[in-house]
């Protein structure tokens, strides 16, 4: 929190004479805003207001009728954020969730948040919403105490009014207390949050507020936006990755039915037409000449990564790893690999853009509306304040829609044709032309000391980043080096970034060492752990599964893995069946125990974890982007098979919660631990130690029949 400017200071606003910009200049920072009349809206939908300023940043507004509006920068992408935020505000203000309206992801209406991208949104945003709501509660309580001339302890907010505790009949409504005045408060002093023991709304499985719209088909995604006079665009794509457009003859395409314009601006070439299908058809009539670049080859991927590696950040080190490895009784080294993976949301990328004077409005499908705003402003030579990004419902993102490219393209096209333009991708475009999860190569060197414990851990991470790579175990000598590499495919953010790949390498390696030493995999980990939350999660998972150190052979394989991510600890156990002849793996059961701090909405967290297990099984068992001669080969769901109903195991979820920690709950931790849990179960089943994702059936088959 910044300096304390949150004294009991009231800033009356002359509503007639002061613009919102002036008002903001006066207040700045983070504000809690109470108003009798709705504050001047920064812009009605579809057009930015004159004051859609950079620093527009109210987190919360309370109307005199008790209605609460919260404003948050992170959109709903299916993670249940809208509902969880409403719960947090409702808890602090002691109102029902139905009194809370949530405005998300509209850059002209919500505050900007400078947060660590690895911090879960629920925690980053939720804690600010709670702080704002708690501050508002205290202000209202103080006003009531003053009105009744009693101390603060004797008044309490309850159901949208303030009550006087000694005389239960005495109450004041929020409107009465505000009395037509406007109060602006900047979050300064940390206001005490409602302690977990008193929670009535946080911790409840409240149904998703957007659920009814979803089941009626009324949730509005970017492809459902309809603006007057809107046209539809389709890009002409190059024949292969890295190709450069040399020239294009667009005359024949321009003459096609429904075509409004063929736009060719530098690297951007697209047809804009009255209907999406007509735009798509007309692109085939563009005569384009491309210059192909170097063709990345899949066969040399991991070698290329290693050869192009440069240290991305200073090595992280504790103790003296080299000396400890040299003095170790036994050493274990191995390399681990993870393929490029596509985010593959069912809703392909899309954007709608419209220009009005010198401003641009973009309807975007993204988790990062402010990044899209900056991308569009940069590309069009505008100030950020001239661009408004309105996030629609997002049909899956998983980190794949952070990049602003599609919004930039739509905005350029809208400016070129002078009318609103919708640009959407086909499934093939979605799987070919967006960035992928980075492929990973991870080398681990490990030394075991005289007492059979790990004394040295040395990890080199290539290309996928260091997230989750620092071991959560108390190995006395540890080193982590992360390398940037020349990747042959476009790569970018992914749910958990390198977390799943790094946990895979570590947890498979530990399993291997435990096996070599004849130790139970869980006991072996526990002897290196001191983190009580992690220990508790591991014990919970083991107990639920019925883990036994020396199991009789059953034909099934059981594997364990654990991980830390974004403030959560997770332990997972997978039970698999392996078909020896084909090497195919069938995952039958998964147990997840995840401690994510305070749980805001348990059912929603379970939903997220279940989904993460399913998605994680996809890239554990079969997902890989394949390419050849600069062409991505996996361009459809037939060639890029994500998990289906047929593959889903029984999933048991336990939530051993540390309620005093911030709410870090999402599915990412569970996503991190699942690959190793399955790989370790495969080893348990058939003795195949596989160090590559997705687990290649051929390797499993070969090892199983050795």
């Amino acid at each position: 929190m910044s300096e304390d400017v949150g004294q009991q200071r009231e800033v009356p606003i002359n509503r007639a004479g002061m613009t919102r910009r002036e008002f903001l200049r006066l207040t700045g920072g983070v504000i809690v805003l109470f108003a009798l009349a709705p504050a001047a809206e920064p812009g009605t939908e579809g057009q930015p207001g004159p004051d859609s300023a950079e620093d527009l940043n109210a987190w919360l507004r309370i109307q005199p009728d008790g209605r609460v509006t919260i404003f948050a920068p992170v959109p709903e992408v299916g993670q249940g954020l809208r509902t969880s935020l409403a719960q947090m505000a409702a808890e602090e203000l002691r109102v029902s969730v139905s009194c809370v309206e949530v405005v998300l992801g509209d850059t002209a209406r919500v505050p900007r948040l400078a947060a660590d991208p690895d911090e879960p949104a629920l925690s980053a945003v939720g804690m600010r919403v709670r702080a704002a709501a708690a501050e508002a509660r205290e202000l209202l309580a103080a006003m009531a105490a003053e009105k009744w001339d009693v101390s603060r302890e004797l008044v309490k907010l309850d159901g949208g009014q303030v009550v006087l505790l000694p005389r239960p009949g005495t109450a004041a409504s929020i409107g009465e207390l505000i009395g037509g005045r406007r109060f602006v408060r900047r979050l300064g002093r940390p206001t005490p949050l409602t302690p977990p023991s008193e929670h009535q709304i946080i911790g409840e499985s409240i149904a998703r507020l957007d659920g009814p719209a979803i089941v009626r088909g009324q949730a509005r995604y970017v492809g459902d936006v309809l603006l007057p006079n809107m046209a539809y665009a389709k890009l002409l794509r190059p024949p292969c990755l890295g190709a450069r457009l040399v020239r294009a003859d667009t005359r024949a395409a321009s003459a096609q039915p429904g075509v409004i314009a063929v736009v060719h601006e530098g690297d951007l070439i697209a047809v804009v037409a009255s209907r999406p299908d007509l735009a798509e058809k007309a692109t085939r009539y563009i005569q384009a000449t491309w210059e192909e670049g170097a063709h990345p080859e899949m066969s040399t991927l991991y070698q290329d990564l290693r050869e192009s590696a440069e240290l991305a950040e200073p090595a992280r080190q504790q103790g003296d790893v080299e000396a400890a490895l040299a003095g170790a009784r036994r050493g274990y080294s191995a390399s681990y690999r993870a393929a490029f993976v596509a985010h593959a949301p069912i809703e392909p990328h899309g954007a709608v853009a419209t220009t009005e004077g010198d401003t641009v409005v973009v309807y975007a499908s993204t988790e990062r509306p402010f990044a899209h705003r900056e991308g569009v402003a940069d590309a069009l030579g505008l100030r950020a304040s001239q661009v408004r990004v309105i996030t629609t419902a997002v049909g899956g993102a998983f980190g794949g829609k952070d990049g602003a490219e599609i919004s930039v393209q739509a905005a350029r096209l809208a400016r070129a044709v002078g009318r609103p333009v919708m640009l959407t991708q086909s499934r093939e475009e979605e799987l070919t032309w967006n960035y992928f999860r980075p492929a990973a190569l991870i080398d681990v060197r490990c030394g075991v000391g005289e007492t059979g414990g790990i004394i040295a851990w040395d990890c080199d991470v290539f290309n996928c980043g260091a997230r989750g790579a620092w071991p959560p175990y108390g190995f006395p000598h540890r080193r982590l080096r992360s390398y940037r590499c020349d990747a042959p495919l476009r790569q970018g953010p992914w749910r958990g970034a390198g977390g799943p790949a790094n946990a895979f390498a570590r947890e498979v390696h530990l399993d291997h060492i435990a096996g070599e030493l004849g130790e139970d995999p869980i006991d072996f980990r526990l002897r290196h752990l001191s983190d009580r939350r992690m220990i508790r999660a591991i014990q919970a998972a083991a107990e639920r599964y019925g883990w036994r150190a020396h199991r009789p052979p059953t034909g099934l394989g059981v594997g364990f893995a654990c991980a830390r991510d974004g403030g959560s600890c997770v332990a997972e156990i997978a039970e698999v069946e392996v078909e020896r002849l084909s090497g195919q793996v069938c995952v039958r059961r998964v147990v997840v125990a995840q401690d994510s701090g305070l749980v805001v909405n348990p059912d929603n967290l379970r939903n997220q974890i279940e989904g993460a297990v399913v998605m994680g099984l996809g890239f554990t068992l079969r997902e890989a982007v394949r390419y050849e001669q600069g062409r991505v080969l996996t361009r459809s769901f037939a060639s890029y098979p994500i998990l289906t109903f047929r593959d889903v195991p029984r999933i048991d979820i336990l939530l051993p919660a540390s309620r005093d920690l911030p709410p870090n709950g999402d599915g990412t931790p569970a996503l991190c631990a699942i690959p190793a849990a399955v790989a370790n179960a495969v080893f348990d089943a058939v003795g195949a130690r596989v160090r590559e994702l997705p687990l290649p059936p051929a390797s499993i088959r070969a090892a199983a029949n050795r």
Binding site: R208, R220, G395, R427, G611, V614, A638, F645
Partner: protein, 159 residues
Amino acid sequence: MARQSEGIQIRVNGSLYRLEVDSSRSLLSVLRTELRLTGTKYGCGAGECGACTVLVDGEAVRSCIFPAGHAHGRTVTTIEGLAQGGRLHPVQEAFLEAQAFQCGYCTPGMIMGAVSLLRKEPNPTELEIRRALADHLCRCGVYPRIIRAVQLAAAKMAK
């Protein structure tokens, strides 16, 4: 070149439409662009993901690969037409009860697929549900809840 326009007559969610459209256009394109029924989603354009599932004469079809002309003279039900008189269809209710969605994009197609399944098999086993919906994809991974929702809906409809 686009074929010459011809008239198509379709009953959609109870209303009769006469459309002058190229009959080879996909039913999905006609529903979304001409009728502005945007609850039905595009996911793959190849009949592989099920997001575009609608009912034609009660039968689930992939509207992204179903030519609009084939719907001529037939009855189409989309997600917008399931609720009757403001009351949700039992399958919609069950999806809410089981909270069987995350991003919600595949949900309309899932619901239509489930409605079609329950018409044919009012009391499906879990295995039958998995098989019947196997070609409906959900990237958020909500499958276990969708299975529960279909079971819940079956129980509701049996009453």
